[in-house]
């Protein structure tokens, strides 16, 4: 089972990211679970969402304490929230930032593998708004062997309708532009 924790701000689509990923995994015949950190929804406040993907039925219903992957949708959260909390030693932190993985590693003292992508830049160019949920899914799939990239296209089309093409473009760009520091 792979456990992924998403960090974003209310309204940026962290929950949507987790949901789209779970829907794609389920379409592939896998088992998956996606859920928000439960509570009142506040636009702009730091939020967390969770996704589990497994080849077998998922029984656990608690939140994820030791994720395999942490995905950060908003660079300003890196200094506010301990995003690496509980991240497994062989796990990976993937973050939206203008900076290189080396610069982020030095600044935050991250011990695990690290990947970065300028998701805000990509989202501004492709979507015209700094909403990074679909862009960061591209970064996630470029780094982690979770599923066939094509499996996400259908859920993206279903969710975004006429805006799907632009979201898919942003997703593809992040897939190709993400940098990993081992």
């Amino acid at each position: 089972m792979i456990e992924i924790r998403f960090h974003g701000r209310g309204g940026q689509g962290a929950v949507t990211s987790a949901e789209l990923l779970a829907l794609a995994a389920i379409k592939e015949g896998k088992y998956a679970q996606a859920f928000p950190s439960f509570g009142p929804e506040r636009r702009g406040a730091p939020v967390v969402a969770f996704c589990r993907i497994s080849d077998e039925k998922i029984k656990v219903r608690s939140v994820i304490y030791q994720p395999d992957i942490v995905l950060v949708l908003d660079p300003s959260i890196l200094r506010l929230v301990d995003v690496g909390n509980g991240l497994k030693a062989d796990g990976i932190l993937i973050t939206n930032t203008r900076f290189s993985p080396e610069e982020i590693k030095n600044e935050l003292g991250i011990q695990t593998r690290l990947a970065t992508v300028d998701a805000t830049g990509i989202a501004r160019q492709e979507l015209g708004i700094p909403i990074t949920n679909t862009t960061m899914l591209g970064a996630l799939l470029s780094v982690a062997d979770l599923m066939d990239k094509e499996s996400l296209i259908e859920p993206l089309n279903e969710r975004f309708g006429r805006l799907a093409a632009r979201n898919i473009k942003a997703f593809e760009r992040a897939y190709n532009e993400t940098k990993i520091l081992e």
Partner: protein
């Protein structure tokens, strides 16, 4: 045939209410409410479900509308949570005494105060004795399935009793997971249209809910008690036939690795599947531990429970509500009552956990089993309090 889809549990439940060809939905449309009613209002609005949707001004009115709707012979649904149930409760007792079948999904959440919107079982425990059939579900598939089962059992002429599905708020209602949705043809085969025995109709006047003076009240209540106590075989039949259709068989108590178990953990609702991971861990360490999940809360399955814990020396009961000044949690009280008649009975230890949305992880169950084993006597404790 069935189709496996990824879907939010609340939306799947609403889709089941649609597939069940529900006639009337009455619900208070804002907090505390779930996506179940929100989605149903969309289905009615866009013409996918030919039903009357009544967005009432309070839960008290919601249940009042359901009362009239069921009395008129309509297949009736509502949904609420926590404070909403508390406000509704006056009429909750009335409809069961009037023998009006209907279905309610109760997204279990805590009662104030302090103000909380999160999950526990204090809401449903406040109406424990309301005379509705009450089941708990562990996952999204089970709530989807029980919409059909609930209607089928409630509307059975041998039953004619309203039915509550307890679904853990947030922990289940807000999760996306895979659910097998039945084809309409399967639903129609399992769930025939509701044929009321009596109904309010202007051409055939009847009175429902009359005055009950002392000379009649006791007899009426005895009739209700007898009728309720004879629902079990019909509930079992509803589960059996659903299992024959879908391959998913449900039971009054669900057991996991209880064979030869000396220690049995007892849960209700979504805690069961999480607890089963702890059971696997403990079994892996050679501990003879098993799990019993109480699916049927009312009527309480005394016989089935005793059978499930036979041979156990220690029963560790997990309650998600407090009974202030009582013997522990409400579930533990029932478990002790079930075991009292036994010549030799296991020690019962009670933990109160997961209050107001406090997370419960598999390791918590391992810790509680170890604590229960280490400390003699029968006692209860609120687990995981930050000191």
């Amino acid at each position: 045939m069935a189709t496996r889809v990824g879907i939010e549990v609340s939306i799947a439940a609403a889709e089941a209410v649609k597939q069940a060809n529900t006639d009337v939905i009455a619900a208070y449309p804002i907090t505390p409410q779930t996506h179940i009613v929100e989605h149903l209002s969309e289905l009615v609005n866009n013409g996918e479900l030919d039903a009357e949707f009544v967005p009432v001004e309070s839960e008290h009115s919601a249940m009042s509308v359901c009362s009239g709707s069921s009395a008129a012979g309509a297949r009736t649904f509502t949904c609420t949570s926590s404070q909403g149930l508390a406000l509704m409760s006056e009429i909750v007792y009335a409809v069961s005494s009037l023998r009006l079948p209907m279905l309610m999904i109760l997204a279990n959440r805590s009662l104030n105060s302090p103000l909380s919107i999160w999950n526990d079982h204090s809401d449903v425990m406040s109406i424990r004795d309301c005379g509705w059939i009450q089941v708990f579900v562990e996952n999204g598939q089970e709530v989807y399935d029980h919409v059909f089962i609930g209607y089928r059992v409630a509307e059975d002429r041998n039953v004619l009793t309203p039915f509550i599905i307890n679904l853990d708020g947030f922990v289940l209602t807000h999760v996306i997971e895979p659910i097998e949705m039945l084809d309409q043809e399967m639903v129609d085969r399992y769930l025939p249209p509701y044929q009321p025995l009596y109904r309010l109709h202007p051409n055939q006047p009847v009175s429902i809910g009359c005055f009950g003076p002392p000379v009649l009240f006791t007899e009426t209540k005895r009739a209700q008690d007898e009728a309720f106590n004879s629902t079990m075989p019909h509930i079992l039949k509803g589960w059996q036939e659903f299992g024959d259709l879908t391959g998913r068989y449900y039971h009054p108590v669900e057991t996991y690795k209880t064979e030869e178990a000396k220690v049995i953990v007892v849960t209700q609702g979504s805690l069961g599947e999480t607890a089963s991971i702890a059971i696997d861990t403990l079994r892996g360490e050679g501990e003879p531990v098993g799990l019993v999940s109480i699916r049927l809360w009312r009527p309480f399955p005394f016989e089935e429970f005793r059978e499930a814990v036979k041979g156990a020396e220690l029963v560790v009961v997990m309650d998600r509500a407090i009974s202030y000044g009582g013997p522990g949690g409400p579930l533990a009280g029932e478990i002790r009552a079930a075991l009292y008649s036994q010549e030799v009975h296991p020690r019962v230890v009670n933990f109160i956990i997961g209050l107001g949305g406090r997370d419960v992880a598999p390791d918590d169950f391992v810790q509680m089993v170890q604590q229960a084993k280490a400390r003699p006597g029968e006692w209860y404790e609120i687990y995981g309090v930050r000191e």
